[in-house]
């Protein structure tokens, strides 16, 4: 070989940091929004700057963060899950009834949910059914099942689940631990693992993935299965906080998770997955509720405020992208 090979073909730390900053840039405005909301909240109620204060403030964001990571996985292959909220509600119902009464049946149902998701992925890939249609259809199935098992909110979660919800370490806010764990799982699955890069390749350009010799169906099914597991975890955590089951407890999660992924730099067309961005987006949306109650605004304004913040962040991103180009 006539050419001399450079000693290090791999880029150094500085180059790595620069590229990460460029790629993670879309999530930056979500971080700005989060800091602003947090700042306003602290000014209104300095008491939240304590372990117990932060715990109360972040608690509602925990199931949402897990659900947002699940939605991020589905969106990375170019699909959208419109049944996520109903399914989380169903998981809380199962957790508050069957999981306590007959654990075997309860766990069996949760595993069956994951199996159904594998089937959904297969149908979307093989039959070309749009994911929004099939998941929207499934959301009605989930609601029907939930109402059948538990027509009115109630039930009681098993002791171990309640214990998870009661866990309150003194040194760190417990929700922060869960949020970090969720982000790490999402980060490993979507960005660090080989299957993660295949999932993003599927969303980015399916023919390329096929030319490289990978199964498109296998990749999509894996994405759906991983998402289903995260959705089940999200539902269990929600049940551990409420200690009861309610099919409608997470109905607003569907659109909130999509908004969180988009806020965090994801795209509808697939190919991108930014786990940290999705977490920031989910926490931002969760905190808006807390902030509005701190400012003693009507809770009916909550959705409007969330919508305005999503629009502001997205508009801000378009403007900043124009300036940086």
């Amino acid at each position: 070989m006539t050419t001399t090979i450079q000693a290090s073909a791999r880029p150094g730390l500085a180059g790595r940091a620069r590229v990460s900053a460029v790629h993670g840039f879309p999530a930056l405005l979500s971080l700005v929004a989060l800091v602003v909301i947090f700042g306003i909240s602290v000014v209104n109620q300095p008491g939240i700057l304590s372990v117990s204060g932060l715990t109360l403030m972040l608690m509602s964001a925990v199931p949402l963060v897990f659900a947002a990571q699940a939605q991020m996985l589905i969106m990375s292959v170019g699909d959208i899950d419109l049944g996520i909220g109903a399914l989380i509600g169903l998981v809380t119902v199962i957790a508050a009834t069957l999981l306590a009464e007959s654990p075997l049946l309860g766990w069996g149902l949760l595993v069956a949910i994951v199996g159904v998701y594998a089937l959904l992925g297969l149908i979307v890939q093989k039959r070309g059914v749009p994911s929004i249609i099939i998941t929207l259809g499934m959301s009605f199935v989930w609601i029907g099942l939930g109402l059948q098992i538990l027509p009115t909110p109630g039930g009681a979660t098993p002791d171990w689940l309640t214990a998870i919800g009661r866990w309150r370490p003194d040194s760190v806010p417990a929700p922060l631990v869960f949020i970090v764990v969720a982000t790490l799982i999402g980060w490993y699955l979507a960005r660090q693992s080989r299957i993660g890069s295949r999932m993003r390749a599927l969303g980015s350009s399916a023919p390329t993935l096929q030319k490289a010799g990978w199964s498109l169906a296998g990749t999509r099914v894996t994405a759906y299965v991983l998402a289903a597991v995260l959705i089940v975890v999200s539902g269990l955590l929600l049940a551990s906080q409420t200690r009861s089951g309610d099919i409608n407890s997470a109905s607003n999660f569907t659109l909130m998770t999509i908004a969180a992924v988009i806020l965090g730099g994801g795209t509808f067309s697939g190919g991108r997955a930014l786990p940290i961005g999705a977490t920031l987006g989910a926490v931002t949306l969760g905190l808006i509720t807390v902030l509005l109650s701190l400012m003693s605004l009507s809770s009916s304004l909550q959705s409007a405020a969330q919508g305005i913040i999503v629009l502001a962040v997205l508009a801000g991103r378009i403007i900043t992208e124009r300036f940086t180009r």
């Binding site: 070989m1 006539t2 050419t3 001399t4 090979i5 450079q6 073909a9 791999r10 880029p11 180059g15 790595r16 590229v19 790629h23 660090q192 693992s193 080989r194 890069s197 295949r198 993003r200 390749a201 969303g203 980015s204 350009s205 023919p207 390329t208 993935l209 030319k211 490289a212 010799g213 990978w214 697939g270 190919g271 991108r272």
Partner: protein
Amino acid sequence: MSDTALSESATAVPSTPSTAPTIVARGVTKSYGKTRALRGVDLRLEHGEILGLVGHNGAGKSTLMRMLAGIEQPDDGAVDARERRAGAAWNADSAAASGVRMVYQELALCDDLTVAENAALSDPRPTGLWGWRGRAEQRIGTALDTVFPGHGISVLRRTGELAMAERQMVEIARALCTDALSMLILDEPTESLGVDATAQLYAHLRTLTRRGVSVLLISHRMQEVLANSDRIAVMKDGTVVETFAAAATSESELLVAMGGEVRAAGADVTAPRAADLTAERGAIVATVRAASGISFEARAGELIGLAGLAGQGQEQLLNKLWGAGALSRGVTVPRRRAYVPGDRQTSGILPLWSVAENLTISAMRGISRLGIINGRAKRELAAEWIGALKVRGDAATPITALSGGNQQKVLVARAFAADAQMVLLDDPFRGVDVATKNELYALMKAEAAAGRCIVWYSTENSEMAHCDRVYVFRANRLVSELSGESNTEERIIADSFDENTGDQR
């Protein structure tokens, strides 16, 4: 550096000094619907040689290439590979296992993935659960450094952020990230590469063949094929018509074998119908005022060329002319315009539609009344253009069943079938063969003579000889206007570079 692709393939292949042909195709046929892509191809690729494969668009090169790589199975005939185990079918898996790699013309990279992740996708070697990323970065980085020293590509960047030439380099380098490379198929690998990178690529292909790797090189650039191949196979109408030793043949001999015309222009194409145009010949139909440099002006009946080095503002001017509305300042354009995009895969064809539907989508005004399309007028219009441009396949053929060159013909026909006063072409002839080009040049001249205004951006300076006037671009400005005697290739090249310093800006 022990786990790099290139040193591995260096040790793995010559250990078995088998000199049997790497791959042999015998009587291979393939049809897509009514289109017969291959009608009995015989081809033999020897151990350690570079075989050039030339032919017009639609001659069956791409189809043959997919057969050899095992991606598609022949309808009839057989593909025998040296590395194939007895009894095993020659499909994509067994081809990959025996070290066959392919570099696609339409680059097969995921825009959202990084260079290293893209390389890992197509790298069949097993990697651990942890550390695969680092290994992939190492491998693709080394491959890039080896083939294209001084490439300046960061393996962490998303391929969507890279320039076309850089993506082409990545596509080539990642094909080398494999164990025991035995056969490398390159489909138009230098179409977007610069001069230096092209030379680096061919130098590296020679080091590969010295190790026993066989290379199949498909290209429209006759000079490159002649200079870098051992043998050259010529394809025409779905068969290999002749095979030459590269040292004992010439460009004109190859062109004759391909059935192409050596003369620059002359194919006679008559435009199916006289365009119904309101503007008179010579009237100014479009202007773009520039703050500095020369302003752009277009008259009816003119064929205007936009020349200069790639990416110096030609596309922006076309976009201005195409996207101009009531609110754009400094731009006047005729109301009806048509546009032929350069990248037919992403913004040209409507892949689910038939040839006729693709062809007539812009001409709806002419063939509909009160918003209802006249089906017969549509079919007649499509048939006229299919006949005039000799598109292979009939009106009802799905557009994706056509070869790339024929798809491009349909796109050009679409623009001219619309009753547009101004037709914009964005480098539409990338990878189109000589005969098709000549037909399209003749069509453009005939249409301009009929009173249309045609604005044509091309990266090939020699094509500019067909134009009435040529604007040369440099650093997003119009730097010169050439016509008649001054419109020469030398002048365009001279004006494309800064005369004062000689540097490209």
